[in-house]
């Protein structure tokens, strides 16, 4: 790989951005100050929520006004149809777009949205153009869970719109009834498994949209009241977890389905859009950059009412949160005894920082993020407010576990398909079968036992450009501050520093630049990381923090198997040997006994299909068995 004329590229990019900016409509969410204050008034909260919807719709629609709406996308069309504006332009554009239909769920759900928002407003010709596309163009179901949510939702709703039609009227040869039943049955199976043993693409930084948007479509447009209620439950379920795991609206680790940008600039994620939209506790970027499909949720967001208990979990925090939850890995086709691995997530959130992890190992073939500490900043935009380590694992055999592929093509191939870092030694994204992690409150121990023949026999630690007071202490500890948070990072083997690489184009791994952050590269296969965080208020100075860390008992060995015994800042003796169950105060962690959710805000017994959402006196119980949503105030 090489650096390619980045100055020129940046200049071109800046010029293009400037040109675009001249035409951009007003965006108060970006230009005006924002506040994280809790909005106590229900009416005011709702008004602000609706205002954010309007802002995003105005912006999105406004982008196309200069060209007289001739270039608008399906989200802008849907927004205009919902408002009853520019209908003729919508008709023309729909007919034009339907001349070259796309091929899969990312095309299907937007067009379904246009079909429904336009069912009473589009011309007969435009509606027929949509209908024809669904008859003539073969669609792909995809091969991941989010694909299937979008695909089956779209088929369910389109079959509902055009009932009683024979297979000859559908691209897949199935009748309306067959398409409807297939979509329904898949959705019910997904909802059942998710409420039973957890979400597969859990805490996704971007793919949350691929769930939330289809769910709100079902919530608004399904004619079956049971399906509407199921969708409502799942929306609440999804957003309750979002509220719980975000820090000032930002997603943090662990995450499935994240990416090279979101994993270091935690604000830069579609999940942040949902925090902004639902909770209003995070600022927007210029042009809503990084927020992907959020505009599609905005089309229908007015139909959803954010439950107060979920809102308060996100924004009204006066105590530390310790959640221990379950999720599941992506489906594993082969080379594993497990169809889906249970994922055990630990989330510890404090006022100024949060530490999260899962137990390590494989959870997703490419885009996992296993653990980090993330801290708050006044304005998180363009800030790398996180620290973590990982083994940069790349494997054709692992790709075969999760995909129907031969061993060789995918590791290089996916780098051209939106995962540019996958096959690089310097990456900071991904999980590894050779990483094991334990967490107790704000202490993390990550051990690595990497086969020497691995492509990248090293451990990478991410060190933000935004750290302050960074000290490489003679003891082997590295101290720093992230925001007001004290951080102590202990690599268990020698290391060197390399620049952190930012990929300029997610579909071209050869174009990149230095981000200003750096990567601690420890080129040893027997390895480990210890991370201890502490709040700025706990110590009078960095020197006091360092002294406290240096006094903590620590023993470790790397041969033949990495092993650590460490007494944390919280007085817990943590011990861990790679491949064995970690121990806290001598007791092995009882992963098998973990509930689906357990903590101050979310609680659910494994297999129960009932989630209790709590904040203060507020309770909301989502019961998927009875399809009931119950609100209570506990006195």
């Amino acid at each position: 790989m090489q650096f390619l004329k980045l100055n020129s590229l940046r200049s071109i990019g800046c010029l293009a951005a400037f040109a675009v900016a001249l035409q951009l409509p007003a965006q108060p969410a970006f230009t005006e100050p924002f506040s994280r204050e809790v909005v106590e008034s229900v009416d005011e909260r709702r008004a602000q929520y609706l205002d954010r919807i309007k802002q995003m719709q105005d912006f999105r629609i406004g982008r196309y006004a200069a060209e007289n709406f001739t270039k608008m996308d399906n989200s802008a069309i849907s927004m205009l149809l919902t408002r009853g504006e520019e209908i003729e332009a919508c008709n023309r554009r729909v007919i034009e777009l339907m001349e070259t239909p796309g091929t899969g769920p990312f095309w299907m759900f937007p067009v379904t949205m246009v079909a429904y928002t336009g069912r009473d407003r589009l011309s007969a010709e435009a509606r027929q153009a949509i209908r024809d596309a669904w008859r003539t163009t073969r669609q792909l179901r995809g091969d991941t869970e989010n694909h299937w949510v979008m695909y089956h939702t779209a088929m369910y709703l389109m079959a509902q719109m055009y009932p009683d039609e024979p297979g000859s009227e559908w691209w897949n040869g199935l009748s309306s009834e067959e398409n409807f039943v297939e979509g329904r049955d898949w959705l019910l199976d997904w909802m059942n498994i998710t409420t039973t043993i957890g979400q597969g693409e859990y805490n996704a930084t971007h793919y949350i949209g691929e769930y939330a948007i289809p769910l709100i479509m079902l919530y608004v447009w399904a004619e079956d009241p049971a399906m509407r209620q199921r969708a409502h439950i799942m929306l609440d379920w999804l957003f309750a977890e979002l509220a719980t795991i975000t820090l000032d609206g930002m997603p943090r680790g662990p995450n499935s389905r994240t990416d090279d940008y979101s994993v270091v600039e935690r604000w830069y994620a579609l999940a942040t859009y949902f925090s902004w939209q639902l909770f209003g506790n995070v600022p927007a970027g210029e042009g809503y950059r990084g927020w992907g499909w959020g505009n599609y949720f905005a089309v229908l967001a007015e139909h959803y009412h954010v439950p107060e208990v979920i809102y308060r979990i996100a924004v009204d925090r006066d105590h530390d949160i310790l959640q221990k939850d379950r999720a599941r890995s992506r489906r594993i086709w082969r080379y594993s005894d497990e169809h889906m691995r249970p994922i055990h997530k630990t989330q510890y959130l404090r006022d100024q920082y949060a530490v999260g992890s899962h137990q390590g190992g494989l959870s997703d073939p490419i885009q996992s993020h296993v653990w980090d500490v993330t801290w708050t900043v006044d304005d998180p935009r363009d800030v790398h407010n996180t620290m973590f380590s990982l083994h940069p694992h790349s494997s054709g055999r692992v790709q075969q576990m999760f995909f129907c592929t031969f061993p060789e093509p995918m590791p290089p191939g996916v780098t051209w398909e939106g995962k540019p870092s996958y096959n690089s030694a310097n990456k900071v994204l991904g999980c590894s079968p050779y990483e094991q992690v334990m967490q107790d409150l704000d202490t993390v121990i990550a051990l690595y036992d990497i086969p020497p023949e691995e492509d990248f026999p090293q451990v990478n630690g991410f060190f933000s450009r935004d750290l302050t007071d960074l000290v490489e202490h003679e003891s082997g500890w590295i101290f720093a501050r992230g925001g007001t948070t004290y951080l102590a990072y202990r690599p268990l083997a020698d290391y060197r520093w390399e620049p952190h690489i930012r990929y300029v184009n997610s579909r071209d791994p050869t174009v990149f630049e230095e981000s200003g952050s750096k990567v601690l590269v420890s080129p040893h296969v027997k390895n480990g990381t210890i991370l201890q965080a502490a709040d700025g208020s706990e110590f009078a100075s960095m020197a006091d923090f360092q002294a406290a860390i240096l006094n903590l008992p620590l023993e470790y060995s790397l041969e033949p198997t990495p092993s650590v015994s460490f007494t944390s800042l919280r007085g817990k003796k943590l011990s861990m040997t790679f491949g064995l169950n970690p121990r806290v105060e001598g007791e092995p962690i009882d992963y098998d006994g973990w509930k689906l959710f357990e903590g101050p805000h979310l609680n659910s017994e494994l297999h129960s299909r009932v989630l209790t959402i709590s904040h203060g006196d507020l309770r909301r119980v989502l019961d998927y068995n009875t399809l009931s949503i119950t609100d209570r105030v506990v006195r």
Partner: protein, 345 residues
């Protein structure tokens, strides 16, 4: 709508052409229809508009061109045809299994939502209503020409039944071999029970029955080498002379010459044997650097060897790999070659 099945159409063209020219030129009627599943999807991502032509192609022996028919699908992995009725076509794809009863004019996706990513499909020539579907999580069987499917996995392991390839023994009804993650499995009862006839440590990628001797079979694997059987797949022996530490993606016989065999491997490229598998020779001269061979196939009408090179032009060789020439289909992957005798034996 997709055009008619070229099996019917090509004969019509052939007749029209000969009538129009009114010349004494006589095209040799090919003994086989020769098809490929080709995906020309470089840089394609799910959801985007397809700007290339993908799916089923038939070799037009008159024009020496590949002619597309059926739907434009970027994900076809295999094709099978009913030997009684060449207008009945089965294709596996990312979506599952597609069936056409009118030569590709119309198609129906007949798998249920819990069957996905079909890997291979095979028709029993002695019982053509019975069709076998290889899936990433097992095997399904249809007894009604692909209209409905049922899982038939008794004898397969709970885990380890990723089935990449499935082949019906043309010499015996209901006798089928399946290439799975943990070996080759055999049924003589149309899938009602399976037993393992070759354990492997990694995926079996391809199984082929000799067009010359129905007792002779070849198999290739991810990292377990290449294997052959001379007793209809009951017992297997390792093939010497081929690399075995990296995946071999497929193997092919040459219907025109009993002793000619070829394999494709991403890491090692194209290797051929011209002594029935006793010795093997690398045949990559003239192919792109770093070969990345995806699949090989032999046109049974001509003995022409084809090599699909990963997202490159399809190549062919008329001297069984000694020299190569670029064919059409730039940027393609050929996932399957299929030859159908025009007259059933």
């Amino acid at each position: 709508m997709p055009p008619r099945n070229p099996i019917t159409r090509s004969r019509g063209h052939f007749l029209a052409l000969t009538l129009t020219l009114l010349t004494p030129v006589v095209w040799a009627e090919p003994a086989y229809d020769f098809f490929i599943c080709a995906n020309i999807n470089r840089n394609y991502v799910i959801g985007s508009t397809i700007v290339t032509t993908n799916g089923l192609f038939e070799r037009d022996h008159a024009t020496q061109e590949w002619r597309h028919f059926g739907y434009n699908d970027t994900t076809l992995s295999a094709v099978a045809v009913d030997p009684r009725d060449h207008d009945t076509i089965y294709t596996t794809s990312l979506n599952g299994i597609w069936v056409s009863y009118d030569g590709g004019e119309s198609w129906k996706m007949t798998n249920s939502w819990d069957m996905t990513e079909g890997r291979d499909v095979a028709v029993d020539p002695h019982s053509p209503d019975t069709v076998y579907l290889a899936l990433p999580d097992g095997i399904a069987v249809s007894t009604d020409r692909g209209q409905t499917w049922e899982r038939r996995e008794r004898g397969l392991p709970d885990r380890g039944k990723f089935t990449q390839t499935i082949a019906v023994d043309r010499s015996q009804k209901a006798r089928v071999l399946a290439g799975c993650e943990e070996g080759i499995f055999l049924t003589v009862t149309a899938g009602s029970t399976w037993r393992r006839v070759l354990p492997t440590s990694t995926q079996v990628n391809d199984l082929e029955q000799s067009p010359h001797d129905p007792l002779r079979w070849l198999a290739v694997t991810d990292t377990h080498g290449a294997w052959h059987s001379r007793d209809g797949g009951e017992t297997w022996s390792a093939i010497a002379g081929l690399p075995d530490d990296r995946a071999i993606y497929n193997v092919t016989f040459d219907a025109t010459d009993e002793v000619r065999l070829a394999v494709a491997s991403w890491a090692y490229g194209v290797w051929t044997s011209e002594d029935g598998g006793e010795s093997w020779t690398e045949r990559n001269a003239g192919l792109p650097d770093g070969v990345r061979a995806w699949r090989v196939g032999v046109d049974p009408n001509t003995g022409r060897l084809y090599a699909s090179i990963f997202q490159e032009t399809l190549y062919y060789s008329d001297d069984f790999g000694r020299t190569w020439q670029p064919d059409a289909l730039e940027g393609s992957l050929v996932n399957a070659f299929l030859a159908i005798p025009r007259v059933q034996p």
